[in-house]
């Protein structure tokens, strides 16, 4: 990609997530893509059935992404929101519509390799129609100086008989100040799977994530998995929220957080609520260290406790 005009540092940071950068460079690979360098649109490619429109505003862009009815595409739609500056404000307003009977994966990358006072905000609205399979994967890299402030908010409506999979990964580099809020509204017979992974690595890393699912339709199902680690003074707070508001809906919140080193803090606040007598909502959370049996199993293979813990953290935070 040396012939591209896109900042090499951003491309390099995505390789750390095992993302093939050719997939989303305009003119390379296949699939639709929207490429942003700070607040300028540097590339935009559509494919049949996918409408991509971007409009630059003072501190960012408004992007409309529409998956036309019946469109089923294997190649992900790539969205790259990179900033190769230390400071500045980037605001993204995506409006994403998947019409009925569509199947698509959106792969979003937010990479800020030089961040040192940088602010990134996102305010996203998703509308997923009926009978869709929609996956949204977002990977973040905020550099190594804990210098980013990142605050995405997403409201997501998932229509009847649709499957929505959300994956958010913030495991490489140092996150800085992160505050994420996701609200997902699940209609009849829909299935929601949301997985969040984050790793706070020093005292300047503070991560707060609120992932909420509102089971509004009969027989809607959901699982929220929140996995985090905090070391050397890092702080992680995860709210996993599920409401059972319809008959026969079923939701579960699972939170696993590992604390490494003194001064680090992991907190989990599962909040579950059922207002329909035929609904079922549950949660489980474990914080602190890994189960002793897991450590024993790995130590019986000759690993020290420290090595075993490192292996288990890598496994827990492995991106899918």
């Amino acid at each position: 990609m040396t012939n591209s005009k896109y900042p090499e540092e951003i491309l390099q940071s995505l390789e750390d997530y095992n993302i093939d950068i050719r997939d989303f460079m305009p003119g390379h690979g296949s699939g639709a893509k929207l490429l942003l360098d700070f607040n300028k649109i540097k590339g935009l490619e559509e494919v049949d059935g996918v409408i991509l429109e971007g409009r630059e505003i003072e501190n960012g862009i408004v992007a409309d992404i529409i998956i036309k009815e019946g469109t089923k595409i294997e190649d992900p739609v790539h969205l790259c929101f990179g900033v190769n500056k230390e400071t500045g404000l980037q605001e993204i307003f995506p409006r994403i519509i998947a019409e009925d009977n569509t199947e698509v994966t959106l792969q979003a990358h937010c990479s800020f390799p030089k961040a040192n006072g940088l602010i990134h905000k996102m305010f996203g609205h998703f509308y997923i129609g009926k009978n869709c399979k929609f996956a949204y994967n977002e990977t973040h890299y905020h550099g190594e100086k804990s210098g980013a402030t990142v605050a995405p908010v997403a409201y997501i409506y998932v229509g009847e008989d649709s499957i929505f999979e959300n994956t958010f990964n913030l495991t490489k580099g140092t996150p800085g100040k992160v505050k994420i809020m996701i609200d997902i509204y699940a209609m009849k017979n829909s299935v929601i799977r949301s997985t969040i992974r984050a790793f706070g690595k020093n005292k300047n890393d503070s991560i707060r994530i609120r992932d909420s699912v509102f089971l509004e339709g009969e027989n809607a199902r959901s699982i929220i998995k929140m996995k985090a680690a905090a070391k050397d003074g890092g702080e992680v707070l995860m709210y996993g929220i599920t409401e059972g508001n319809a008959p026969h809906c079923n939701g579960h919140v699972e939170c696993n957080e590992i604390v490494l080193g003194k001064g680090s803090i992991c907190r989990a606040r599962p909040f579950i609520r059922a207002i329909d007598p035929l609904s079922s909502v549950s949660h489980e959370a474990s914080l602190g260290r890994f189960p002793q049996k897991w450590l024993d199993e790995l130590q019986a293979k000759g690993l020290s406790e420290k090595e075993a813990t490192q292996i288990l953290i890598e496994a827990m935070l492995r991106e899918t």
């Binding site: 189960p291 002793q292 049996k293 897991w294 024993d296 199993e297 790995l298 130590q299 019986a300 293979k301 000759g302 690993l303 020290s304 406790e305 292996i311 288990l312 890598e314 496994a315 827990m316 935070l317 492995r318």
Partner: protein, 267 residues
């Protein structure tokens, strides 16, 4: 002897009760040695203590491995000397790939993929079906046990402690596991097999009977089994199992069995 237990006493963690009392026996290198006894008799505790798990400490005695006193060594140090344990119910560590898990104990990481493939083949798992999978809920109990065994084999330890490898498996699978134990033995690894099933122990050369926290007998496995059956009052089962036409006859006849049962007050 590869492993010698010298007059060991294992108390509970709060030291208020004895789990295994005054036990001494040895395990010969290259053998399969079964520890049998009813549920709750202290068999798994013995395996965990030999492995060096933190909650299992001796209040008395010594554990000698290949001439080295390992009593005060921790689990990692013992593993590095060549002892490992395959758990009765190994954990499902989501996110850890099967090849990575098997490779963890391989000291020499050169040609590591070949070593992983070989270990999978020894436990009768088709490598192409498992090299891209993870230690997660998609694995059946039997598959997970085989992977645990493969990880132990890949280490090439001198002593493998197998904690009830037969639990939760059907008879067809168990026959396969017995063949795997013999393959491990052919690779010059010694097996300490913990089981409460006497028929599983028939694969063993030697045995030790643990009964309610007491070491009762260490001898050739058939003799240990007779003693176990006599304690449990299972005479017909004992004869049927020992003189099964598919098995090699033990070096004693049914008169020996009758005598041992009489010693226990059973005609």
């Amino acid at each position: 002897m590869l492993l010698e237990l010298k007059d060991i006493v294992i108390p509970t963690l709060d030291k208020k009760r004895i789990i295994l009392d005054q036990t001494s026996f040895g395990i010969k290198e290259g053998s399969i040695h079964a520890i049998i006894g009813p549920n709750g008799s202290g068999k798994s505790t013995l395996a965990y203590t030999i492995m060096g798990l933190g909650n299992y400490k001796l209040s008395q005695g010594k554990i000698i491995f290949d001439g080295i006193d390992i009593t005060n060594l921790d689990i990692t140090e013992r593993a590095k000397l060549g002892i490992t344990l395959a758990w009765q119910e190994p954990a499902r560590i989501e996110g850890l790939s099967i090849p990575k898990y098997i490779s963890l104990g391989i000291k020499d990481q050169s040609n590591v993929n070949e070593k992983i493939l070989e270990a999978l083949q020894i436990v009768n798992l088709e490598p192409e079906k498992y090299m891209n999978r993870y230690i997660d809920e998609s694995l059946s109990g039997g598959e997970r046990k085989r992977i645990e065994l493969a990880a132990a084999i890949a280490m090439r330890p001198r002593l493998i402690l197998l904690d009830e490898p037969d639990s939760g498996l059907d008879m067809i699978v168990i026959e396969d596991f017995l063949n795997i134990f013999n393959k491990i033995k052919e690779l010059n690894m010694t097996i300490l097999l913990i089981t409460h099933r006497e028929d599983i122990g028939m694969v063993a050369d030697y045995g030790t009977l643990i009964w309610r926290g007491q070491h009762l007998l260490t001898d050739t496995f058939p003799k240990v089994m007779v003693k176990y059956c006599a304690k449990a009052g299972l005479k017909e089962f004992c004869k049927r199992t020992l003189f099964d036409e598919n098995r090699e006859c033990p070096a004693f006849d049914s008169d020996y069995i009758d005598r041992i049962f009489r010693e226990e007050g059973i005609d």
